[in-house]
Amino acid sequence: MNLKAIYKYGSPPNFYRFVTKVEPWCLYFGLLLILIGSAGGLFMAPEDYQMGDAFRIIYFHVPSAYLSMSAYATMGFASIIGIVWRSNVAFSVAKSVAPFGALMTATALVTGMLWGKPMWGTAWVWDARLTSEFILLLLYLGYITLHASIKEQKRADRAASLVAILGIINLPIIHYSVVWWNTLHQASTISKLDSPSIVGEMLWPLLVMIFGYMFFFVAVICRASSAEVLVREKRSNWVKEI
């Protein structure tokens, strides 16, 4: 891995410049992809032969579930970098990912429940994926509340990062321990790359939506973390020049 990149973008002014340059591209591209994806998913894709039109919620459910997990990975990775290099930038990235990740987790849970009510007959089942998603929400909330309840900035950063790292170690363990129950949730449909069990007309809007969500996520993180960096560096000269 190239450590130089970490040192270069670990410095707040460089990070700020880079991020503000990247953000609009990601934002507009992401919004465009989300528009295309929703149009494709809501109007063009054919009806499911079992679920009818109700399956279309998949175009919002799956991307947010994907993002809820990758956001946690991002948060954990940023926390590790922050702890190892004492990097203020990494801490502010981790802090700004957390609320968005919690929001995505909540969205995945709510859309899943809305989908489950007509399909399974109940909004909630004690199924492996639902439960581990809920636990993920608890982990996010723990991070956010811990960060909020310690007054001093540096201490809050490092303490909350330790919790995030412990969560990263624990997440696979939690997932596999919860999988021990019988699973009602359908097996994932698109991870089997060679023979996906979903037709192409239904698949492409889903992929477009996932990428759209990702770009939008990056844009949001850029915006939030650049604001966070500005707040933290408000006494330094380069901020005053802006």
Partner: protein, 221 residues
């Protein structure tokens, strides 16, 4: 080595002085376990089917109650700071402290759990399995609790926050602990859950003191 023993003896004295803290955990554990048959149903099959979850559940809550005093008094009177300044490895001292905390709060629970298992109509070898499961899971839990207690030291009312941090981390242990007891009562193979619990115990004993020590250092500055 002498320093670690000295710390252990000191913790023993403190535990004897604060005997109410030690007793609270045991009483809570006992009460939760006793209340369940009273308020739900006391027939034998039902009790045998819930004894695993009840054990884990009451151990979890008993540890939640007692852990608030794990580092707090010593943090306030400066003992932790002195330990940090000593030449001995701080990680080792933290390990000693966590271990002695386990001895005074969880070891009694293991003894009591045999009795509770017998009033839930668990018999013979299964009682030993219950105690073994309790041993493995409390030794894991005490490390998780130590970390959480250390990280929330500077916060004035940490109760709800502690629960929020602890619950997701402890969940696998609760699941596998009750699985082990359940399987043993049903006569199934218990090696799977026990292997998992042992692995988690080793993992927590290995990384627990390190991460707790760094959490204490964070709370200190």
């Amino acid at each position: 080595m002498a320093a670690y023993f000295q710390l252990f003896f000191r913790e023993t004295k403190v535990a004897i002085k604060r005997w109410t803290d030690v007793l609270t955990g045991i009483i809570l554990f006992f009460l939760i376990a006793i209340l369940f048959p009273l308020i739900s149903d006391s027939n034998k099959d039902f009790l045998l089917s819930i004894v695993g979850p009840i054990m884990m559940f009451s151990a979890f809550f008993a540890s939640l109650l007692s852990m608030q005093n794990m580092f707090k008094p010593d943090f306030q009177n400066g003992t932790i700071e002195q330990l940090m300044l000593s030449k001995k490895s701080f990680v080792g001292l933290v390990f000693t402290k966590t271990f002695s905390f386990w001895v005074f709060t969880s070891l009694p629970l293991i003894v009591v759990s045999g009795f509770i298992a017998s009033i839930y109509f668990v018999t013979g070898k299964d009682i030993l399995i219950v105690q073994l499961t309790m041993f493995l899971s409390t030794l894991t839990m005490v490390n998780i609790n130590a970390f959480t207690a250390a990280i929330t030291l500077g916060i004035r009312y940490p109760g709800a926050l502690m629960t929020l941090i602890i619950t997701p981390i402890t969940l696998p242990i609760l699941i596998f602990g009750s699985k082990a007891i359940e399987n043993s009562i049903l006569g199934l193979d218990i090696s799977g859950p026990l292997y998992f619990l042992t692995g988690m115990m080793m993992l927590s004993l290995f990384i627990g003191p390190w991460i707790t020590a760094s959490a204490l250092k964070i709370s200190m500055d």
